[in-house]
């Protein structure tokens, strides 16, 4: 928890109202998202009880399992869920665009659009992951056959849930996290997990938030009291129509809040780098659609050693990139880094834009500037800094000198100034310009190379056995 966000929480508590902790939206908000609110049966391992879903705020589609402990009803529910969800997910696999790869020597194709599914909270994501796990290995033949759409839904849900682990991915979004990224409330993170309460802090304030705590839950777990008083008698007496009504009443407030949250976030201006992250999501979606059309094997229960290491590397890179991109997009997020000394803002007091370094084989353009700042500077000579205003340009720290009023930092610039020995106009900061410099860098970091899965060394379990995972439970 950064001091800046902590301060926003203190301000929210004093004001009785949630306070913004961002100035731009850090999340892609889809034009046609699918909202899905799952509800689980208490005590069971991932037994669905109901789901409210749809792409139109005015026509929610409710699915209910009358007897959650009956396997056949559960799989009928999954088939119904698949009948709505799979066509939605498929509907974006149409129009494609060409993306140059290998420095323009080749192209690949990706879909222009991708789906976006919204669930209320992290629990909803976990529920979908487990539902994916319990259905993707189901067989369409044998003793307990299920419709082909059931294992297909399982694969889709597994794909969505694992993409939700990638920081900055927006294929499967949970509303609690999305709102929490933009507002700080005057309560603890544990209390924020209740969507109704978090939403009320943003819209109506602290008093309404307290009242919302006793209101209907956003799933997937139900309230024990609701289970005992309302649900149990209905399940015992097998009164499906009544149960449908009760569950609709329970889920509708969350449904409305979800759509209001989406509308609320849509009003924010989008961060400059949100689009490039959505490009990554479209890549992932395109690759998964291709996989389904080609082999279509379900994702394994456990990643093999090489796949796990690769996945961990991708997640780490995504997390680092996401943190940097958010700071570059948003001065309020960058302020957190300024507070810790990883970034500072100052005024250019000296600039030699035409300085040439001719000590090497060829003369190169290496302008130097001096920046005076009153903020904490925690950089050493030799460090490489960047400025969000000129992300392609590197600034190497030559010297850091304390002065009466703060610090003077001398920097040597390289890159982002054109190919000639004279800098392009505007590419070198001028005297008097206010600029922000940071140790954060967007530069691509190549990962370690990993062996082919079939060459997994014995120290890591040897090559994985294929198709052993496909057997039914």
């Amino acid at each position: 928890m950064s001091t800046l966000v902590a301060l926003a929480r203190a301000q929210a508590l004093a004001a009785g109202r949630a306070q913004p902790i961002a100035t731009v939206r850090h999340l892609h908000v889809h034009d046609r998202p699918l909202v899905l609110i799952p509800l689980a049966m208490a005590g069971e391992a991932n037994a669905p009880l109901a789901a409210l879903l749809g792409t139109d705020p005015n026509s929610p589609h409710l699915l209910v399992v009358g007897q959650p402990r009956n396997r056949d009803e559960r799989f009928a529910f999954t088939a119904d869920l698949a009948a709505t969800v799979v066509p939605y997910l498929d509907s974006f696999a149409g129009e494609t665009e060409a993306v140059p790869v290998d420095r323009g020597r080749d192209v690949r194709h990706r879909f222009v659009h991708a789906p976006q599914v919204w669930v209320p909270n992290p629990g909803g994501v976990d529920f979908l992951r487990l539902l994916g796990r319990s259905t993707r290995f189901r067989r369409t033949d044998g003793d307990y056959p299920v419709p082909a759409s059931v294992p297909l839904l399982g694969q889709w849900l597994t794909f969505l849930a694992s993409s939700a682990e990638v920081p900055g991915s927006a294929l499967l979004v949970n509303a609690v996290q999305a709102l929490g990224l933009h507002w700080a409330t005057g309560q603890s993170a544990a209390e924020d997990a209740h969507l109704g309460s978090l939403f009320a802090w943003i819209i109506d304030g602290a008093q309404a938030a307290r009242e919302a705590e006793d209101g209907p839950v956003a799933g997937p777990a139900t309230d024990p009291d609701f289970d005992n008083r309302v649900l149990a008698p209905l399940i015992t007496t097998n009164s499906s129509p009544q149960m449908t009504e009760v569950l609709r009443e329970l889920l509708m407030p969350t449904w409305d809040r979800m759509w209001q949250s989406i509308a609320l976030l849509r009003q924010w201006p989008e961060g400059a780098r949100v689009g490039s992250r959505w490009d990554g999501d479209r890549d992932a979606y395109s690759a998964f659609v291709t996989h389904l059309h080609e082999e279509g094997t379900p994702q394994p229960r456990h990643d093999g050693a090489v796949a796990a290491a690769g996945r961990l590397q991708r997640l780490e890179n995504a997390a680092a990139r996401y943190a940097v991109q958010r700071a570059f997009d948003d001065p309020l997020v960058m302020a957190e880094h300024r507070l810790t000394g990883a970034a500072f803002s100052g005024v250019v007091t000296l600039a030699k834009a035409d300085r040439i370094d001719d000590t090497g084989k060829r003369p190169v353009l290496r302008p130097r500037i001096m920046v005076a700042t009153t903020e904490t500077v925690r950089v050493e000579p030799g460090a490489s800094l960047t400025s969000p205003a000129r992300p392609a340009q590197k600034a190497k720290v030559i010297s850091v000198t304390p002065t009466v009023s703060g610090t003077d930092v001398v920097l040597e610039l390289s890159g982002g100034m054109g190919r000639k020995l004279v800098a392009e106009p505007g590419s070198v900061p001028e005297i008097g310009e206010q600029m922000l410099l940071t140790t954060l860098s967007e530069a691509y970091r190549p990962g370690a190379s990993l062996p082919d899965p079939s060459d997994t060394p014995w120290t890591h379990g040897g090559p994985p056995l294929h198709h052993g995972d496909v057997s039914a439970e």
Binding site: M1, S2, T3, L4, V5, A6, L7, A8, R9, A10, Q11, L13, A14, P20, T23, M41, A42, G43, E44, A45, N46, L130, R133, S134, G186, Q187, S188, A189, A190, E191, T222, D223, P224, D225, D227, N228, L231, A232, R301, H302, P331, L332, M334, A335, R338, L339, T376, E473
Partner: protein, 357 residues
């Protein structure tokens, strides 16, 4: 037998002053869960005294108008019971095959009732001391908590093999592909550690294994799977926290005579009694303590209600008003606050600059 009588005496002694606090209602007993919660927030006098006095905190909270949601779904209970019954059917056939414990007897010491306490405790000691191989269900254990001997509500099986005794806990949360819900597992581990500690106090450290066995349903079926958990870490935490707990008897003796938690009293009198006990509220209380909603209300305006990480980021300053005054420069910091105040001022300046751009 003398030891048991002595133990009964000391329990009775404390019960005397505790009974006075509780009034006419029957006492609530400690269980592994309450001991675990107590050690989770050892600085909270309110919880320590109310638990020691056996006050029904659920009803107390309802009475003063701050009820919490601490029910358990009957579906979850039904599934837990069904799973346990299935394991214990036919002389524990399924449990034995899951544990790989085919030999030895099985003895159930029966349900948790007040009037059989000392009989069950002596039977537990006798069976465990004999060292015979087998399974012992519902043994009655005691543990010293804050200078008070508490009987633990026993819902576990001990499994004797050779020299070592192992705690077996049956839980109904699922283990899926070798993974289970982290919160459930850590709660189970702390509870099991409480039992291990109690058994070690009874039999000596080397007789009881620090590896406990968790029996859970596997994947999406009811098939049981046994998982071994090492609870050494939980044990040492528990030991340290228990040693830090101030002696509850001293706390109770220091209370004025007017303090009473008899639920028959009018609400203002109850509130006055509750307020003589200092609480240490943290948001974690909301999921573990029945009094938490009231304590949260009382703590409003304090940085503690925002959670420990936020409080630490704010330099550990007590109230939100103080934080905002230091951040705006309206108040001058005490020597201890200088560093925190400088950071808060910088944060406030940066925040204003970014928001008013």
């Amino acid at each position: 037998m003398n030891q048991i009588d002595g133990l009964q005496d000391s329990a009775d002694g404390l019960r005397g002053s505790a009974d006075r606090l509780r009034g006419s209602a029957p006492g609530k007993r400690h269980n592994a869960r309450t001991v675990a919660a107590l050690t989770g927030n050892p600085g909270c006098t309110r919880r320590a005294v109310l638990d020691a006095a056996g006050v029904d905190k659920v009803r107390l909270a309802e009475q003063i108008g701050f009820p919490g949601a601490f029910g358990q779904s009957r579906f979850a209970l039904a599934r837990g019971n069904a799973f346990e019954a299935m394991l214990k059917a036919d002389d524990c056939a399924l449990l034995r095959s899951t544990l790989g414990a085919y030999v030895g007897g099985y003895e159930d010491l029966g349900v948790d009732e007040e009037d059989t306490l000392s009989a069950r405790h002596s039977r537990t000691r006798a069976v465990l001391a004999s060292g015979a191989e087998g399974l012992l269900d519902h043994p009655l254990l005691t543990l010293e908590v804050a200078g008070q001997t508490v009987f633990l509500e026993p819902d576990l099986i001990t499994h004797q093999t050779g020299e070592q005794l192992q705690v077996v806990e049956i839980k109904s949360f699922a283990v899926i592909d070798g993974q289970a819900d982290g919160a459930s597992v850590s709660a189970a581990a702390v509870q099991a550690a409480v039992y291990v500690l109690a058994l070690r106090q009874l039999l000596g450290d080397d007789r009881v294994s620090h590896d406990v066995v968790l029996v859970c349903p596997e994947n999406f079926s009811m098939q049981p799977v046994a998982v071994v958990l090492d609870v050494r870490k939980q044990l040492s935490t528990l030991r340290r926290q228990l040693s830090r707990l101030a002696s509850v008897s001293t706390l109770i003796d220091a209370l004025p005579d007017t303090v009473s938690f008899d639920l028959a009293q009018p609400v203002p009198a109850l509130l006055a009694s509750i307020d003589t006990l200092t609480a240490r509220y943290a948001p974690e209380c909301l999921s573990t303590c029945e009094m938490s909603v009231y304590c949260r209300q009382q703590a409003s305006g304090r940085t503690a209600v925002l959670g420990r990480p936020v409080r630490e980021s704010l330099g550990g300053i007590e109230t939100v008003d103080e934080v905002l005054a230091l951040a705006s420069g309206a108040a001058s910091p005490t020597p201890a606050q200088v560093e925190a105040a400088a950071l808060l001022r910088a944060a406030a300046t940066l925040r204003d600059e970014a928001l008013n751009r």
